[in-house]
Symmetry: C2
Subunit: 200 residues, 2 copies
DNA sequence: CCTTTTCTGTAGTGGTCGGTACATATTGAG
DNA sequence: CTCAATATGTACCGACCACTACAGAAAAGG
């Protein structure tokens, strides 16, 4: 098994580096030259390992969602209440979007607004991941309602879109340079609003 | 006066077309070839009239803010209360971001997430316009507080960032294809939250 | 050993990018 | 009319894009 010359680089490490680069610069503004330079891998090796720029991005985005975006997602699902879940989702995302030494903002939001419509593979990937996020939120609200938890609204779909939009807004502001403390203050306001709508 | 061969196209109309194109495709994904083709103007004439791609974008963004973004801005300032101002700001922006036959989303938000950091002129322009938006919101809240209007929070800066983020979230969702009615439902939720926080 | 398979480095491919040199055309000034 | 000034169309610039042809290197199977 494993005939032929062995690969001279760590595929997972290369994917991790590609993820960081796409996260930092966005999809369109990250060139193959940038990748080959930062990863120390010549382009033929890159193409042999990942296929194309868009396929590499999709794999990098998978890694982003599994490792980085995983924490907020898990926090939403694992919290005992929808309120605690949404609060944790927002706070974990703020931490993720403003991590010291890490790229700012959200890899997916940035790609959504910067990838050319002609790159259908990436556009479809991003659309799918957005639907998954909304579904996760919606089902969390449905479960909470079934458990008798008071919610800001009975319209779970609108709730899901509203709180997903909060995350997107945080991502845009983080990229604009808003400090972590400022983002957390608006998260506090969002949760104050939740309480005001549920305890009245 | 006005020596030399006269310009053979309407500069304002060309600027309007450029604005629509930048709005539709973003900054980076709108090429000079796209512009020359859609405007019917060869590139030397374009450069003679506007200087460079980034200068053309800044002029187009000025036009966007004056004509299109002007309505939401005026709505915020002109409303009798901060609450009515914020509600009008959000609803006017939803209308703007989902206008039939027009580009979706916000020209500025899209450019913020898609313009390469190397294009400092555009980056600085976008940063300035963001600060102006926040200032407009902040001073509206300050005026409301001085007039005795109850607000969701005494921290006017956080309020400004929160409601500006609402607009950005709406812009991202509009670009993702969210229908106008769905955006308006989340605006209703946002204003329900305002009322819950001010009337408790 | 030799062959097959796979990867690597060099050196490109055609295409598009933002921007421009240049000759020509069209105006007002004198 | 002549001249200076400005705009136009053609045709091009070097730089960069995503991507790849090709020859040689490094492994396993025989």
């Amino acid at each position: 098994m494993a005939r032929g010359r062995p690969r001279s680089f760590d595929r997972d490490a290369a994917l991790d580096g590609a993820m960081r680069l796409f996260w930092t610069r966005g999809y369109q503004d990250t060139s193959i030259s940038d990748l080959t330079e930062h990863l120390g891998i010549a382009s033929p090796s890159l193409y042999a390992a990942f296929g194309s720029k868009s396929a590499l991005f999709c794999e990098a985005a998978d890694l982003y969602q599994a490792r980085e975006g995983g924490r907020p997602g898990v926090a939403l699902a694992a919290a005992p209440t929808a309120r605690a879940g949404v609060a944790a989702l927002l706070r974990e995302n703020v931490a993720l979007f403003t991590r010291r030494g890490g790229p700012r903002g959200c890899l997916l939001t940035r790609a959504t607004l910067s990838c050319p419509p002609s790159d259908t593979a990436v556009v479809e990937y991003l659309d799918r991941s957005r639907r998954d996020r909304l579904t996760a939120l919606r089902s969390r609200f449905r479960a909470a309602a079934a458990a008798g938890e008071p919610l800001p609204s009975d319209d779970h779909d609108t709730l899901a879109q509203h709180y997903d939009a909060q995350v997107q807004g945080l991502a845009v502001r983080a990229l604009e340079g808003a400090p972590r403390a400022a983002l957390l203050r608006t998260v506090d306001l969002t949760m104050t609003a939740w309480d005001a709508m549920t305890t009245r």
